[in-house]
């Protein structure tokens, strides 16, 4: 009995070992494929996405609507120049005073984003004395934790990375546009030349090399605050921003759990 048990045990160990040996090349191939994927997204070869977690915050009160971020994004990522393709853009919100006799506390809301705010904003046609308040809201991919675009992509060309970014593999995208329809924030577009889906990558080729996204880099008022939550110094602006502000996300009722956090937005912002 003992001999049989021992034989069975050894046979089990042997087959287990052989199984591991067989699985090893498969695991290595899978690891290489994943590494290639990140490299194709612009990351350097030694970049380990599990050791980072990127976060973007927007301080709406600081944005002056200069559009430098939009321009920088277009140049850095070769975004098509036409006025209907943006990885990031800036919206201007003007909330009017309530008309005389109205019971509401706020009047009509006007939103515009001429050419995505790329060239700044022209003077508004709304008379100054009628404006209750106005502010600018920079927009970009909301880096949803439960991203509807990744869920919708039929081939997995859009995917969530372990470091909190949502990327598109242009070599794999079939150009069906389902992800574009699924994005509640209008952050995606079909590239007119490559015919694949495009979106903000947080300048993945830059952040994986220790740089900041182009829009953050050029923002003159530091309205965009960016950092790596896994490697955040004690006095980092991002830590300070989250500690001192009440932060909100866009369209929270959709359950997408955006990782772009906004401070000081009004209820009108969608």
């Amino acid at each position: 009995m003992n001999a049989s048990c021992s034989r069975r045990r050894w046979l089990g160990l042997l087959s287990g070992g052989l199984g591991w040996l067989a699985a090893l090349p498969v695991a290595r191939a899978a690891k290489t494929a994943v590494k290639n994927l990140f490299t194709s997204a612009g990351a350097p070869k030694d970049y380990d996405p599990t050791k980072h977690h990127w976060l973007m915050c927007i301080d709406v009160d600081r944005c002056i609507g200069c559009g430098t971020c939009v321009e920088a994004c277009k140049a850095e990522n070769r975004v098509p120049g036409a006025s209907s393709y943006f990885r990031t853009w800036v919206e201007r919100y003007l909330i009017r005073k309530p008309r005389a006799g109205m019971t509401e506390l706020r009047g009509e809301v006007t939103v515009d984003s001429p050419n995505g705010g790329r060239n700044g904003f022209p003077p508004t046609l709304v008379p100054r004395e009628e404006i209750l308040k106005g502010f600018f809201v920079p927009k970009l991919c909301n880096l949803c934790a439960h991203s509807p675009c990744s869920q919708a992509c039929p081939v997995g060309a859009t995917f969530d990375t372990p470091d909190g970014v949502v990327l598109v593999d242009p070599e794999y995208c079939i150009g069906c546009g389902f992800c574009i329809q699924a994005c509640p924030y209008g952050c995606r577009f079909m590239h007119p030349e490559t015919h694949t889906a495009e979106k903000c990558t947080l300048c993945y080729h830059r952040i994986t090399r220790g740089l900041q996204p182009a829009c953050v880099e050029v923002c003159p008022t530091q309205s965009r605050i960016f950092g790596d939550m896994k490697n955040l110094p004690e006095k980092a602006p991002l830590r300070e921003f989250i500690r001192t502000n009440r932060v909100f996300t866009l369209k929270p009722h959709l359950g997408t759990e955006p990782r772009v956090l906004y401070a000081n937005i009004d209820k009108e912002v969608r």
């Binding site: 939103v111 984003s113 927009k139 869920q151 919708a152 150009g175 329809q181 209008g186």
Partner: protein
């Protein structure tokens, strides 16, 4: 400046400035992404599912009156199913990568299921049912027909040439089993198309649990209407007497299916209006403005209410209305319904992209004449299934096997 040059300049300016936006739309939303091809895709799959449900009425629910259209309905379903993937394929930015949807599907995506649902429906349901139903005839025609045609039928028997009563009984039982599987499959096929839209929570016009149900019932309605249309046309073309009992039965089912479809869509609107979430203002503006002609006039009035009245009258006053008039009622109702369901697909697909997800504005859509997503391609895709169906009818419903009596007006006695 020369007038022509001026016009060209104006056109170039219009192109450069893109579509006209009213209110505010996110910049990336200005161009409508899914165009006429994605309108046609659910239309065609709906016709497939509806035609199959129509055929199943004979096989499973034993509605004997519909026997004359049983095979025609199945062949119609097949002809349209063969064309169903085309609009999707043509619409892709990279059609050469289309097989990735089946090779490496992302299983959380409803669109990834298309290949599997399609393959299941065509291979496990439609072709199998047609083969089981036709096998006996294929064996017989293979012996009777000379030359290539005979060879073609012999090949279609797949070598199974046993036509003993026992074998035919087995075919019959299997066919019923396949149809029983086919009914939920047809619901799956088109419910799935509805789910593609219904699952998009980003878009309040689409993201709706009733969407798959609405799609299924509109599919049934359009499928029956298509069978009425094709059966009437075929009878006319062959100068044969259309079976009035069959047309009456189709008219009855068409009426009740349309009534259910109308009720569910009305329920959808009632629910939206009562629920009144943040999107309701923009959706009301959409329905009353951009979609006024296609939805309220086309889909609701012309495509639903008028056919309901006509078909309802034919049900209520069946004895009083003479046969020739009832035939025309069914025919024109079917045409109106077919147009109405096409407009319904338009309203869903295009309507859902005309308003911004910011819920603050609208964009415009202009259908091109030529190009990848133009009128011409759309028209070609709608005509193609009919051409395939003509071929199928010639091969599998040949005139010499048509046992229906000649049309009364075509006989010399009637003329005299």
């Amino acid at each position: 400046m020369e007038p022509l040059l001026l016009l060209a300049q104006l056109g170039a300016d219009a192109g450069a400035h893109g579509p006209r936006v009213e209110g505010y739309a996110y910049p990336n939303e200005q161009n409508v992404l899914w165009s006429v091809l994605i309108v046609i895709y659910p239309y065609i799959t709906g016709l497939v599912a509806g035609a199959f449900i129509m055929a199943s009425l004979v096989r499973v629910f034993n509605v004997k009156e519909l026997t004359p259209v049983y095979r025609l309905a199945l062949l119609t379903a097949l002809a349209f199913l063969l064309c169903a993937p085309l609009p999707l394929l043509l619409h892709l930015g990279h059609p050469e990568r289309c097989l990735e949807v089946m090779m490496t599907p992302q299983l959380a995506s409803p669109m990834a299921m298309f290949g599997f649902v399609y393959a299941w429906y065509i291979m496990a349901v439609l072709l199998l049912e047609l083969w089981l139903d036709y096998r006996h005839d294929f064996v017989r025609w293979g012996q009777e027909e000379p030359g290539l045609r005979g060879l073609f039928y012999r090949m279609l028997t797949l070598g199974v040439k046993d036509v003993s009563p026992k074998a035919l009984h087995f075919d019959e039982r299997m066919s019923v089993a396949v149809t029983v599987i086919g009914i939920p499959s047809a619901f799956l096929l088109h419910g799935y198309v509805g789910f593609i839209f219904g699952s998009i929570k980003a878009n309040p016009w689409w993201g709706n649990v009733l969407m798959p149900v609405i799609f299924i019932f509109s599919a049934i309605v359009s499928g029956i209407a298509l069978c009425v249309f094709i059966y009437s046309e075929l009878s006319w073309y062959r100068r044969r007497e259309a079976d009035d009992a069959c047309l009456d039965e189709m008219g009855k089912f068409l009426f009740y299916a349309l009534l259910v479809d109308f009720s569910i869509e009305a329920l959808d609107w009632l629910h939206r209006l009562y629920f009144a979430d943040e999107s309701i203002h923009v959706l009301k503006q959409l329905a009353a403005g951009k979609l006024f002609n296609t939805m309220l006039v086309g889909q609701l009035f012309m495509g639903t209410l008028i056919p309901l009245l006509m078909l309802g009258a034919a049900q209520l006053f069946k004895e009083e209305i003479p046969n020739f008039l009832r035939r025309r009622i069914y025919y024109f109702s079917a045409l109106l319904i077919l147009a109405g369901v096409l407009l319904m697909r338009w309203n869903v697909v295009i309507g859902g992209q005309l308003f911004s997800k910011s819920l603050r504005g609208f964009t415009t859509f202009k259908l091109e004449l030529a190009g990848q997503e133009g009128w011409l391609i759309g028209l070609a895709l709608l005509v193609m299934p009919f051409l395939i169906l003509i071929l199928f009818i010639r091969l599998f419903l040949p005139r010499k096997h048509d046992t229906s009596p000649p049309a009364a007006e075509a006989t010399p006695a009637a003329a005299a």
